[in-house]
Symmetry: C2
Subunit: 218 residues, 2 copies
């Protein structure tokens, strides 16, 4: 990826009806009712398993898309709920370690947009969580600097995605569109201006997911 | 198409945020604010132009998808608003001829689901409009019979699509997903049960539209 200019890329799974999470997120079901179904396509893939310390798994076109994204990413930006595990979870302890475990799969600097200032967390495997309290522009800027010549991956959730897109900070969207109907929950593209102009730069598909890559036109 | 079993296929263009029409449909803007943008991809295509009595146009992968659909279709089912031109239009005269002109592009029997009984309209070019007042199941059944060994195309709008899907009458969806954000309007997949199980059977893309073909699993 070194020959291309650094990009800021939203990378997120959605339902066919546009949700990134189902209704009623809880500690036990942080993605809301049915929300796990949006990610089933990824669990069996070799690249995903490898990042989670597991061997084996499927190598197919979906796996290539995931491997490409992992290789291209130099830093990650996420919202506070994504760090801590859903809107309803961990609210009692703002200093909890989040739900990514001791060895988060990012293996890169992660910048968490939050209102709650706290010390950086250095996890096993190379992931650091840096808590940014002065907004998305600052978080994306810090991630850009930390990513070197690699890309910045915006991981979600929907609110952060909307802020980053609305602030004109996003170069591309990679939407992993699943043929799942959730019917309710949190929509990726709520509160996005119809003025936004996008163009499809790539489509790769399998029966369980369509990887839609879109360029933000300026 | 004769060797395959007859299928009932929803064929519809949506925005990236899932709308089939923008807000505030009027007689002058029957697809609502911005709704025309969902169909811009089709206007330049040779197959579309030919159906509208025009020569020339682009022959590309998008055109092949449209040509395939036109060749496969033996009968059409549509909702009353789609016949008459938007929710806000033609309400003053329930016997108006609709907004498809003297030579509608369907060139096939069209079954219009409506509460208003009226005589069949035979238009130039082979299109007939038959008005069905006893529900979607009857309309789809009549279209199946009229289509011979060809497919039945469910043309929309959203309400009809939801009824046909909800009644278990749909075999496939072909969603022409455009990289347009409308922000408001009529959503294709509102009121659809999360119990619906779909699988992607084909994806074909260009910068301006992604043709997503989905099978309804039973």
């Amino acid at each position: 990826m070194g020959v291309d200019a650094q990009k800021v890329v939203l990378d997120i799974s959605t339902s066919l009806d546009g949700f990134v999470a189902g209704p009623n997120p809880t500690l036990g079901e942080p993605l809301g009712r049915g929300g796990e179904r949006l990610h089933e396509w990824v669990f069996e893939l070799a690249s995903f398993r490898e990042r989670h310390g597991k061997s084996g798994g499927v190598r197919n076109a979906d796996d290539e898309v995931v491997a490409e994204s992992l290789a291209a990413t130099g830093a990650v930006v996420m919202g506070r709920n994504m760090f801590s595990g859903g809107a309803g979870a961990w609210q009692d302890d703002p200093n909890a370690d989040g739900w990514w475990g001791d060895t988060p799969p990012f293996q890169a600097p992660v910048f968490v947009v939050t209102h709650h200032a706290r010390e950086q967390l250095a996890m096993e495997g190379g992931t650091t969580f840096t808590f940014v309290t002065d907004g998305v522009e600052s978080a994306v800027g810090q991630a850009r600097a930390a990513a070197g010549d690699k890309d910045v991956l915006v991981a979600g959730g929907a609110s952060l995605a909307q802020q980053v897109l609305g602030a004109g900070l996003l170069d591309e969207l990679q939407i992993h569109l699943t043929p799942v109907v959730l019917g309710d929950g949190t929509r990726l593209l709520d509160h996005v201006s119809p003025e936004v102009r996008l163009e499809v730069s790539r489509v790769i598909g399998s029966p369980s997911v369509t990887h839609l890559r879109l360029r933000v036109l300026t």
